[in-house]
């Protein structure tokens, strides 16, 4: 195809104009950033970027996930309204139900059997003063969730019990969470130690709380 001389001149003119514009924008950007004072706002931005390591975050979450899916955590985060029991996560005998506040109903409230401390003996009720399921309006289900689904749920303020980052970090130190490592005779502890769990939880959160693909 033949190129008309007029058209060619127009293209060269456009290209020259574009190069000049790019040059001006680049130089002015460099100059203004170079002379700008180092504000606290800018520092915060730099810190945030440096602290995010999505690979480390996902790696840490996969450790956290093993704990959350273990019977010691998942049994009280069931998909239905009846808690699970035992290392095989069977439905709780007596079929106690969640109730509005997660603490059971009528004569079947959690604390009627679950005391402030573990009861003595094999497979007797484990205890904690806060014993409960998540409440009816915020079920925080772990059972059946993939790593990605669970990570997204925990990071979602509307689905995680309205916890911000600081509260999420604090949650790992909650006495009921910690009780998962002291569940009384006959119950297998989670696959990580409590210390390892908290370290992985913090690492996941502090590196952006990234959900695995």
């Amino acid at each position: 195809m033949e190129i008309k001389p007029g058209k060619k001149r127009l293209n060269i003119r456009h290209a020259k104009f574009a190069i000049i514009i790019i040059f001006i924008v680049t130089v002015s950007g460099l100059l203004t950033s170079g002379f700008r004072s180092n504000t606290s706002h800018e520092k915060a931005w730099v810190v945030e970027v440096n602290n995010k390591d999505s690979i480390a975050s996902v790696d840490a979450f996969m450790k956290v996930y093993q704990v959350l899916k273990s019977p010691r955590c998942m049994n009280c985060h069931p998909a239905g309204d009846i808690p699970l029991q035992g290392d095989d996560s069977h439905l709780h005998t007596m079929s106690p139900i969640r109730g509005k506040d997660g603490k059971g109903v009528y004569a079947m409230k959690c604390s009627n059997c679950h005391q402030p401390n573990n009861s003595a003996g094999l497979n007797t009720p484990p205890g904690n003063p806060k014993w409960a399921l998540p409440p009816e309006d915020m079920k925080m289900v772990f059972e059946g969730k993939s790593p990605r689904e669970l990570a997204l749920q925990i990071m979602d303020y509307k689905r995680n019990g309205h916890k911000n980052k600081a509260q999420l970090l604090e949650h790992a130190r909650d006495t009921l969470v910690k009780a998962g490592w002291n569940m009384g005779a006959g119950r297998k502890p989670p696959p990580l130690s409590y210390k390892e769990f908290v370290a992985a939880w913090d690492k996941w959160n502090n590196n952006g709380g990234v959900a695995p693909k």
């Binding site: 007596m94 009528y106 009627n112 005391q115």
Partner: protein, 154 residues
């Protein structure tokens, strides 16, 4: 020394704080209406009210009841005339009777919180009380009757 109130009477007990409430009721106070069944909170025979809640006294340490109010089957009513007790008699619910104190104490919490329970409500409330004689159907009828009596003020 542990102080507590049982059936509207104050007690001071010099006792190991880990002693189960059930043993205090039966062996020390002499209230034997509450029964020992399984000892591990599985059967419901030992249910009493601790501040109005249907706790299992076999696993409830006396230290938890310190300074609190306990009601046993003997204290549920002054003249054995709680609607549940009247309904139980009227429908002749009991067979061997061993579990019945626990059944009535659990049902009393249900009727306090729900004046007109459905069959489903009754099942949810009574799931933790086992009856080896299988009187479940009569228990359910009696709870409905007691609820009706309660609503009618009789």
């Amino acid at each position: 020394m542990i102080k507590l109130n049982i059936n509207n009477k104050n007690y001071e007990l010099d006792i190991d704080p880990d002693t189960p409430l059930l043993w205090v009721l039966r062996d020390i106070i002499g209230l034997v209406g509450t029964k020992y069944g399984c000892g591990v909170a599985q059967c419901g025979a030992c249910v009493v009210h601790l501040n109005g809640e249907a706790v299992r006294s076999c696993v409830t340490k006396i230290s938890r009841a310190a300074g609190q109010n306990v009601i046993t089957i003997e204290g549920l009513s002054e003249n054995n005339d709680h609607p549940l007790q009247k309904a139980w008699v009227e429908l002749d619910v009991v067979q061997c009777g061993y579990c019945q104190a626990g059944q009535i104490m659990s049902a009393a919490v249900l009727l306090r919180e729900n004046k007109n329970p459905t069959d489903k409500d009754i099942e949810l409330a009574m799931e933790g009380n086992i009856c080896r004689c299988g009187t479940y159907l009569r228990i359910k009828k009696a709870i409905h009757l007691a609820a009706e009596m309660q609503r009618n003020g009789s």
